[in-house]
Symmetry: C3
Subunit: 220 residues, 3 copies
């Protein structure tokens, strides 16, 4: 029940992020709707294909299609209200990724996959929709672009979900802990502007630079 | 039998649309062939993965590979004849989408999926090859670009196919009705230049605008 | 055993090619790592989905993730050493494609698919990671670009692997023959700068041109 409600919330925020990018790319109403639906449902379909659940759950009822369509509809008309919030797309994306990574990992564990596989399938669930969205509008996925730790928070969140569940903490705590950690980790990354290092031009200088970087990190 | 012949026709026109785009993008012979084959077979592979049919049917015989290769070969040499017809790629694409959406939906129904899932899998079958084609040549899929209702006609056609089949109309009528409606709906959209609205800059003005738009639509 | 070691080698060179492209595209450390892992594992995941092996083998243990991560790490620090070798990415890519096409085809045969399906799944295994890599960094896949016969060597190698295995030559010889032929075929293509023809502007002139082309080909 909780799992299913959270899944709808994740889908809606994902679809909203897809719709917002569609608005920014000047797609028309149906383009925005299609992009929103694919962004909202893409991660779950990838998860089901990896778990061998065919046809994917999302194809079996009207609910997911309705939730993502409503999200697209709301964004279509009220995007200025969304857009004026700073970095709205990124925060929505962070929340969707965190939720889906956690719920995806939990569903995978319940489908009797190994803990490691469950965590990785969780990450795929969380990132699948966003990768699909960015590839379709012809952008290098947020996941790969500089200065944005996207995969690591999702991996930590999905791993924690599996760990809490396997340790007997119950599915509620597994989801709460996994989602919260993945979300706040990602938000802190965006807020502090934490960047990952670029490839050094010279290996030894690069290694020395990494060491210096760690030593000189300014205290918050 | 009919289903299988129609499937080859759909594959060939899809492969031809892929080959034509390959020619326009100045790909070489093998690039054109690869793009044609992937465009022709992509939707069917997506359908089989969603239905849990592994390995996908298309991998099991020479037929599909041969049909798409012949289509690529013909376009390679005779593309000026194709290209001089106005909007040829779009019309071929429309026919391929309509056929695949309808046959995909029917195959899904015969594989005992629910009517809704069957319609959605039909749409995926119809649009999968074209999305793959556009993503591979680094374009935003036709599906998402402005003024082109692509997904809606496919959805209507796939839905009608399922409805006619479930109502006991027989598979021939299901395919004829579904394919024809999806195709002519799409062609009319292209012919009349029907465009979908863009996201309004202001919600209330936008809603008012939609209402005005409906009222002021010029009579044909 | 041999199969498994070769698989790691293929994964590592594929991941290295992904990491090198990441470095060239100025992605940061995590972007490079993600691209390397997806490039290294993408072909195998595609193979497992096509064979109905869920969850994909690659999700079941740490080994593949470790191998690709190490390859990404090495390239991250020592890319100038890699990059100064001429066409390094292309040669690494050629080796990865050849190995994966051959091992993928053999795994498919062992999973009781038909010889033809096995060869095609081998090609998909070989090319899947590279296509994913190029699509993610927003490039038209190497596979489609002019003057580069990529799919044909892979198809020949995968086909030979299946043929040797079916003829009772044993899996070692099947892999050695398939991989070597696919690799050297591809390297010769790159070395000699063999180009495939472009689509002719006029069909009959084009066919005449092809005939002339064959007659006039300079002796090596």
């Amino acid at each position: 029940m909780l799992l299913s409600v959270l899944n709808y919330v994740g889908m809606a925020v994902f679809a909203a992020s897809g719709a917002l990018i569609g608005v920014r790319k000047r797609l028309d109403a149906f383009g925005i709707w299609t992009l929103a639906v694919l962004t909202g449902l893409g991660g779950g379909v990838a998860r089901d294909l990896l778990l061998g659940i065919t046809p994917p759950t999302t194809f079996k009822g009207w609910e997911n299609l309705t939730v993502t369509s409503v999200a697209a509809f709301v964004v279509f008309f009220f995007h200025p209200q969304f857009g004026s919030l700073r970095r709205t797309v990124d925060v929505l994306d962070a929340f969707g990724v965190a939720l889906f990574a956690s719920t995806g990992a939990l569903l995978a564990v319940h489908a009797d996959t190994s803990p490691l596989a469950a965590a990785l399938i969780g990450v795929t669930t969380g990132l699948g929709g966003g990768i699909l969205r960015d590839v379709l509008v012809n952008e290098v996925p947020l996941l790969l672009r500089g200065g944005e730790l996207v995969a690591v928070p999702a991996l930590v969140g999905a791993g924690l979900t599996v760990a809490v569940d396997q340790a007997g903490g119950g599915e509620v705590w597994a989801l709460v802990v996994g989602t919260s950690v993945a979300f706040f980790f990602r938000v802190i990354v965006m807020w502090r502007g934490w960047t990952a290092p670029y490839a050094p031009d010279n290996a030894w200088a690069g290694i020395a630079g990494l060491a210096r970087r760690r030593r000189d990190r300014p205290t918050p």
